[in-house]
Point group: C2
Chain length 232, copies 2
């Protein structure tokens, strides 16, 4: 199914979309939602950390981690280290971001874990953690035999992309859920904030699309090609 | 990236999940939401056609159309005909389902096209239509040259899966949006209807996951293997 086109141009589009999504989520939460805080009497400022950290973590750093292993013009061992460190950062920000949502709910008396977004979110963070640990053990330290690695690689890629696509879909659920709450509290359905949030979601989805397309395209020639799995 | 396991077992899981999702959406709309109608004073009965037709059309028939070309033990020309007819049915039900949502909104005085779900929905139905026409012209009638077909096939698969995944993600957005409205109108957040809708969404997502995994797995040996693209 691999697309017979180079991955690199798609990765540049992805970087641009990632920066755009980050700027949009910052504008939303700072300009329209009052900014961020870890401790505050206005509990909404605690919640605002949730979309920022999830987008920056699981979506943007997670996407860049996927892109990095595919497309960086570096030796395989270096790419692998970048890949696992970026995914670890993504996971850490994701966990803090989820904690921020619980903290906001608990301090505001809002129920936890009733929505589809929250259910899928817990599923995604658990699967993301399992995928990271499994990848670390098989491909980094202590590392499986060449046969085991070769057997596991397609599953690592497919399972990783599945979790990533679920994360992007769940980000969309989060944007829609939050905006629906805001609209039921008086935010205009066709106002500038509504358009901003919907466009942030669309840019986030497009970022995910370009990350996946880059994986399905042709990697640059590897620097070191023994046991290279960079072309999938 | 192809998984070195047979696709057939995954397709049986998908069929089962598709039937389960259909039963769940029927139970939801008949038992909890009062059933279906095209003309009614209770405009909610018109809306109820929307989740049913979208799920049966774009998601289930669309998924079965994808599976059919990959896995049915039939000649390529027969599989192609089944593939395009199922996708045509999916598209037709999708269009009627979207019309039902507009009809409900217009007759109830609800604004159209302000939500992320509606924006992505319009995008998906347009892309689905473009994909169908492009597939028909290149692969069925009049049909491109063997070189053109071979060049187009990976894009047909990737673009088709992209549109399909967007459709499944948008179904999740729809379930979440509708349930959020219902909960703001008094439906219990941890009540049986809320659990039913969330589980319907999860089963729908799992159906989509198994459709995609079956495409990434190994097709059965083709009946007729000249110009066969069944193994991707």
């Amino acid at each position: 199914m691999a697309l017979r086109v180079p991955a690199i141009p798609f990765t540049f589009v992805a970087h641009t979309l990632g920066i755009a999504a980050l700027v949009l989520v910052l504008v939303w939460n700072i300009h329209f939602r009052g900014g961020f805080a870890w401790e505050a009497t206005n509990k909404n400022l605690i919640f605002n950390l949730h979309p920022l950290l999830m987008l920056l973590g699981l979506i943007i750093l997670g996407g860049e981690a996927i892109i990095s292993y595919k497309s960086l013009p570096l030796k395989k061992q270096v790419k692998k280290l970048i890949h696992l460190v970026l995914h670890a950062l993504a996971l850490a920000l994701g966990i803090i971001g989820i904690y921020a949502a619980f903290k906001n709910h608990n301090e505001s008396g809002i129920a936890n874990l009733y929505s589809l977004h929250s259910w899928i979110g817990i599923g995604v963070i658990v699967l993301y953690g399992i995928q990271w640990i499994y990848g670390f053990l098989i491909f980094f330290y202590p590392g499986g035999s060449p046969t085991l690695r070769s057997e596991c690689m397609p599953w690592h890629v497919v399972f990783g992309l599945l979790v990533y696509v679920l994360a992007v879909a769940n980000a969309s659920l989060g944007f829609l859920e939050k905006l629906t709450f805001l609209e039921s509290s008086g935010v205009a359905k066709f106002g500038s904030e509504a358009f901003l949030v919907n466009f942030t979601a669309l840019v986030t989805i497009l970022f995910g699309v370009f990350v996946v397309i880059s994986v399905l395209s042709e990697a640059p020639a590897p620097i070191e090609d023994d046991h290279s799995y960079s072309s999938i």
